[in-house]
C-alpha cells in the first residue's frame, strides 16, 4: 500500500509542479457482486501529466469491502501516445497494474491497448498478460520460493457508442471486459453506461452504471454484480482535448 501511494504521490507532485499540464479524475464507486459479502465502496483517483505528446498517468484506488483484507484496491501506471495512421487517430496505451488482493495474494497485470474514435463509435482493442503471486511476507511465512502463476495472454476490448446530446451532455454505452482497476478475462464481458455532463470547458462530472454477468461463453448467463460510479474530472492548463486520458475507464 505504501509503495502504491508513494508512486501516486510522486506523479501527483510532478503534476503540481507542472500545473499547467496537469489533469485529474476523482471517483467514488459502490457496488455488489457474488463475492463481495455485501456492498462495497471504492475511492479512485488518477492524475495525468502531459509532456511533448506523451501522457503519463498514475492511478490508485482504495477499497472498503468485507471481502478484502487490504484497503488498497490497485495501483496503475500508464503511458500513452497518439499517432495518425492513414488519416486515423490511434492512441496507444501501455499500462501496468498491481492489485494486492489479500495478505497472501497479489495480482499483477500489464498490457497494451489501442484506441480509435470515430464520430459515433469508440474502439479499444489490446492484449494483457497477468500473473498471480504471493506476497513477500507470506512467502517467507509459508516457506515458499519464487513461484508465480502466469496467464500469458488475454484480449481486452471495448466497443462504445458515443452519443452527444447538445453541447454539454453525452451518453457512452459500452460492451467491454475492462474498466477502472478491472481487467476481466475476454470471456467475461460486461456492459457499462457512461453519462457525462460538461460543467465548463475544463471540467466534467460523470456517472457510470455497470452490469456484470458470468457464464456468457457458457451460454448460461447468471447475474454476477453491478456497480455505480460518480466522478469529477478536471483539466488544468492547456492540454489539447484529444490528449486527455483522464477518466479511469479510458486507462
Amino acid at each position: 500500500m505504501i509503495k502504491g501511494f508513494t508512486a501516486f504521490s510522486l506523479i501527483f507532485s510532478v503534476s503540481l509542479v507542472a500545473r499547467s499540464q496537469m489533469s485529474a479524475d476523482l471517483s467514488l464507486t459502490t457496488g455488489s457482486n457474488q463475492v463481495s459479502l455485501g456492498q462495497y465502496g471504492k475511492l479512485g483517483g488518477q492524475f495525468s501529466y502531459f509532456y511533448r505528446g506523451w501522457n503519463f498517468s498514475a492511478g490508485a484506488g482504495a477499497v472498503f469491502s468485507a471481502a478484502r483484507e487490504k484497503k488498497l484496491d490497485a495501483v496503475r501506471l500508464s503511458v500513452s501516445k497518439d499517432y495518425v495512421i492513414k488519416d486515423k487517430n490511434i492512441t496507444t496505451v501501455a499500462f501496468y497494474q498491481f492489485a494486492p488482493f489479500s495478505a497472501r495474494l497479489n495480482d499483477h497485470a500489464a498490457g497494451l491497448l489501442f484506441n480509435h474514435k470515430s464520430r459515433r463509435w469508440y474502439y479499444d482493442l489490446g492484449l494483457n498478460t497477468r500473473f498471480y503471486a504471493f506476497t513477500q511476507k507470506y512467502k517467507g511465512k509459508a516457506g515458499y520460493g519464487e513461484n508465480v502463476l502466469w496467464e500469458p495472454v488475454n484480449v481486452i476490448y471495448r466497443l462504445t457508442w458515443h452519443k452527444p446530446i447538445g453541447d454539454k451532455f453525452e451518453i457512452n454505452p459500452s460492451v467491454t471486459n475492462f474498466d477502472q482497476f478491472i481487467i476481466q478475462q475476454e470471456t467475461n464481458p460486461f456492459v457499462l453506461a457512461d453519462f457525462q455532463y460538461k460543467l465548463n470547458v475544463k471540467s466534467k462530472i460523470y456517472f457510470d452504471v455497470a452490469y456484470q454477468q458470468s457464464g456468457f461463453f457458457n451460454i448460461r448467463v447468471n447475474y454476477f454484480g453491478y456497480y455505480l460510479r460518480g466522478g469529477y474530472k478536471v483539466n488544468i492548463g492547456t492540454i489539447p482535448e484529444n490528449h486527455i486520458k483522464l477518466k479511469p475507464i479510458e486507462l
Binding site: 457474488q34 495480482d107 516457506g143 513461484n147 502463476l149 457464464g215 457458457n218 451460454i219 448467463v221 447468471n222
Partner: protein, 291 residues
Amino acid sequence: MKYPLLIFAAGSFLWTSCLKEADFTGLVRSTDRIEKRFAQSMEWNEQHPFKNILVSGEEYKLLITGDVHVGSSSTINNYLNFLERAEENDISSLVFVGDISTGREKDQQTFKDHLPDPAIKPSFVMIGNHELYFDGWKYFYRLFGTSTYYFTVQTPSKKDLYICLDSGSGTLGKSQLQWLKDILETQRNLYDRCVVFTHNNFFRDHHTASTSPLTDELLVLMDLFEKHHINMVITAHDHKRVLNQLGNITYITLDALRDDAKNATYLILKKDTQESLKSGSTGFLFSFEKP
C-alpha cells in the same frame, strides 16, 4: 452487400455447427440460476448423507475425467473404455467433472445407464454448463440429485475430503461460496488431504473461448484455497490438459474424454504414502492415460 452475406455465412456456420450441442436460450437470460440449483442441492443433501468410502489400505486411486459429452457423437467408445478401466480392483471410485452429456434427457440417461453399480464402485458426477442446456438441470437433478456436495475417503489411519462444486453458470454464487467457506472453516482440519473439483477451468493458459470464473471470484477462491491448505483443484471444460502450480496447490485442467477429442485422456489420482511424507507435497501421485 458483402457484409450481410458474410454475416449470413458466419451465422449459418455457427448455427449448423453448434445447434446440435448448444442451447442458445441461455445467452441472454437463464432460468436455471445457480442460487436455485444450490437450494435444491442442499434439499437433496439433507435426504442423502454425503458418502464416505472406506478403503482397506493407506493408498487408493480415483479415476477422474471430464467432458464426456454423451450424445455429441454417435459413439461413446472413450467413455466405455474409461468404465472398463474403472472395473479394475485398484480403483476406489469414479469422478466426472461435468459436461457428461449434451444435457438432453436421453443423453444424461445413457450416461447414467452405463455407470457401475454404486454399491460396488461409487461414481461422483458434477454438473457442467452442458447439463444446463435443453432444460438439462431438471434431468440432472432427477438422475443424480445434488450439484454441490462432498465425499470422503477413509483409509485405516487417515481421512481425505473431496469437494464437488457447481460452476455451470460461470460463478459459484453467493450461497455456494458461503457453503464452501463454512466447510473449509469447520471441517478442513479434520481431514488429511483436500481436493476441490469443479467444471470451469480457472486459468487462461492459452487463448481459449472457455469461460473462467470472473477475476474477482478467481482471486477469492485462490486465496481461500491457499488459506485452507487445499492440495489440488481439478477442473475440465477447456478440453485441453494444463497443470499449474501456485504454492503447494496443484491446479489441473483435464483433457476431454469425448470421442472426437484429439488428445482424450483421463486422470488417475493416487493417494500415496511416500508422497504424503514429503514436505509441501500434495500427497498424491497422478498420471494421465488414454482411453
